[in-house]
């Protein structure tokens, strides 16, 4: 985005005449390729290229946002012009767009390379499948008076759909979701993921109904903490069970939970948030005590934004949102945890999660689980719903945590009030007492 930054900042400056005023221009360039695969063939291809720019002005409890198509300097000018009109400040004169230097077109996502990999991977492990493969690349630029210009680029991969596994009961379709940033490690990780997804399993019996203890394994505890801590500590949330419990002791001291956008190996990572702030890790739970809130510029205290101002796109305003929930590991092996569980369920795949912050409850959907009896794995269980109360669940977490942390690649996109942002997390195996479970 070849902008004259000084000019754009000059247009914004009249809007920040008072302390606490926020004015900024945000632009995004998005490239995306989606392939629909069915049994070894690409059945449909979708290529998407979008550019958009918005200008935002916030003063006290009022905010205005103007969005226009395009990510050129002319788009920025048009957006700021609209903003200054709505703010009642002197308008920027209409001026014919300068002959802007032709911007170098960024290369499209590397579809060919990934297509070849997927042909091999799916052919070897799951020749029957119906999946959607998506590569999304975003480049975001933020300019705001008094702050350094910020640019952030991310390339994200997602595989979602159904793989058919051969089982004793015949072909068994299994829902899968894998989300990861593009990296050298992604192909190997995807290979392991697909192989595990189609591995043999016993015939499932219905999930039980009633109270249960559970181990959230293979990183799935990250989804739980995303729901009950991440959302509860977003700074614009007015009523949650944690709102008035700052620094209160709500869990065992062994439990440390962060939200860390700097983990670029996770799907929700970034180097600059969507307000241009360099993020830092926020302790959501520190030695079992309720930690700090996730803030954007509008909700920041004296210490400033924590770098969690996030947008689903340039047409939406930034809001404080979580990124990557990271739980510190403990020292126990999975076997030790299963013995400690004694009777309950072991879950290593979670689907959707949701939280009712006002009511203080949450629910997590699982597609499969294993029953544990007397410290040993027994039946394979079918889909179910795990539910609980936020504070009781935090109290019910055992002090012994797994010693290996796993990325929860099933987590990818989180929607709140219609705004969808990339999220993920990493966690060790976590044993929780006193949850409710029922078949889905």
């Amino acid at each position: 985005m070849n902008w004259d930054d000084a000019a754009v900042l000059r247009w914004l400056e009249p809007l920040v005449s008072r302390k606490g005023d926020i004015a900024e221009v945000f632009a995004e360039r998005l490239r995306e390729t989606t392939l629909e695969w069915r049994d070894g063939e690409v059945r449909a291809v979708r290529a998407r290229r979008e550019e958009g720019t918005s200008a935002r002005w916030r003063r006290g409890g009022s905010e205005s946002l103007i969005f226009v198509a395009g990510a050129s300097e002319a788009s920025a000018r048009e957006a700021v012009r609209g903003l200054r009109e709505s703010a009642g400040t002197s308008p920027i004169p209409i001026r014919a767009a300068k002959g802007e230097a032709k911007e170098e077109d960024s290369p499209p996502p590397e579809t060919d390379r990934w297509t070849r990999r997927l042909v091999a991977l799916l052919g070897r492990h799951a020749s029957k499948h119906r999946v959607q493969w998506r590569v999304r690349q975003t480049e975001r630029r933020i300019l705001s008076p008094g702050r350094p210009a910020a640019t952030a680029t991310r390339r994200l991969l997602s595989l979602e759909g159904t793989l058919v596994a051969a089982s004793r009961a015949g072909d068994e379709p299994r829902a899968v979701a894998f989300h990861a940033p593009d990296s050298d490690a992604a192909p190997d990780e995807l290979r392991s993921f697909i192989a595990a997804a189609v591995s043999p399993r016993d015939r499932a019996v219905p999930a039980p109904s009633g109270d249960t203890d559970a181990i959230l394994a293979r990183g799935t505890a990250a989804l739980l903490f995303h729901e009950i801590l991440g959302h509860a500590l977003e700074a614009d949330i007015e009523s949650s069970p944690l709102s008035r419990l700052s620094d209160a002791h709500v869990a065992v001291p062994e439990l440390e939970v962060l939200d860390d956008p700097r983990r670029l190996d996770l799907f929700g990572g970034y180097e600059r948030d969507d307000e241009g702030t360099a993020p830092h890790a926020v302790k959501l739970l520190h030695a079992g005590r309720v930690g700090a809130r996730l803030t954007d510029r509008a909700h920041a205290g004296a210490s400033g934004s924590s770098g969690h101002g996030r947008r689903s796109g340039p047409a939406q305003p930034p809001r404080p949102r979580g990124a990557n929930v990271v739980v510190s590991p403990g020292g126990a092996t999975s076997d030790e945890l299963v013995r400690r569980l004694s009777n309950g369920i072991w879950i290593e795949e979670l689907g959707r999660g949701s939280v009712d912050l006002a009511g203080g409850t949450f629910r997590l959907e699982f597609s499969r689980a294993r029953r544990v009896r007397r410290g040993r794995f027994s039946d394979e269980l079918g889909p179910g719903i795990l539910a609980g109360e936020i504070l009781a669940t935090l109290k019910g977490i055992e002090p012994v945590l797994g010693r290996e942390s796993h990325a929860c690649r099933g987590m990818g996109w989180c929607a709140r009030a219609g705004d969808v942002v990339a999220v993920q997390g990493a966690a060790p195996d976590v044993l929780i007492r006193g949850l409710a479970v029922r078949p889905a």
Partner: protein, 415 residues
Amino acid sequence: MTHDDLREELSRRSPGQWELYRKSAESRERETSLALARESWSREEGWAARWWEAGAPRFAAASSASDLSRALSEAARVDVAPQDPPEWPDRTTDAPEPPPVDAPPDFFETLAREVSSISRGEAQLAGLFLRRGQARERIVNAAGLDVTQSLSAFHGVATTVARRGASAHEVRVPFFAGDGGLDTLARRLADAATLPLSDRPAPMAQGQWLLDPSVGAALLSGIAPLFSTERLPRWVVKARLAATAVRVADDASADAAFDGEGVPTRRVLLVEDGALAGRLYDLSSARQAGRRSTGHGTRPSFRMPPRAAARRIFFEAAAPSPAADLLAGVRRGLFASALTAPARVDLEADRYEIEFTGIAILAGRAQGPVAGARVSGRVSELLRRISGVSADLQFFPMPLPVGSPTLLVERATFS
């Protein structure tokens, strides 16, 4: 790069087999809460193309003509399995430019007062989002189609929090602004927020089940894909899909003259006299089924290719009863006033699950609130057990409009 340049490029890539879509949209939003008043204005451009190159379908979308041209090249590089192209419609129409969009009105305080008054102070309006928008769509294709139409929408989402003692409950209710008065919306918000605070479980394990229009619409939204699916699930018995009291139709002619592929909109009767009476087709699914498109090529966004789906589906009755008569006819049962979790419908497995809050009913009279109850079972049985359909049809954004009047189900198991 212009519209004509793109037409030429598509003709070169895929002679006789292409479609070009352009959307220019303007919207204004107002978001109000106790802490913030936000106004947004947005002007969006959307371009999309569908074409058959090397015998295979491709789709590209972009926010400008020049970006669409680049996206065409990217999509053309992928090897895609061949597929028959659809039979493209041809027609020419034009529509006037829509007028500029006014900002949505600010009725946060009025609605907040209504909610508080109806709930006797227990519920408080926490947020109100309103969006008013207009769009102009132009669709052209290789067969000579060139249609233009203007669309408009005004909808919102209201968030309410109710508190009683240490308990609290929050609800988000989407609505079409202009459908019903503020008092209807306030009543819906107050009930959905306060009923779950009663702590009373369902007082019966079985009984009749009366569904508020919002609950009926959520259920129909889950069932709607049945009418456009490639292959009907095995459990569907076409002659006995539903009870004779119920009729299902889709008619978006009040919203738009054409679908997302330029096919004229028309009413399609889907269920009548308990039998499956019709299906919804877009151009591709019509070609595969050897039928004609019914005008149901939907484009929820320019970013997605059109696909067969309901556009404005609703329950109706051949002989509707007043909602009060349906209530009077409940000997022992529950009224589902609002959902407490998204409706879950698995059409392949013939299963559904509805979690709701509502009111217990005995001999046609309300007996008291029910904090939460769950009904689950077979979709096939549920449709055949609808014994009463009222005339109070209401539409809800899900996100496309889905409508339902009050429904009475003769038997359900509550847990």
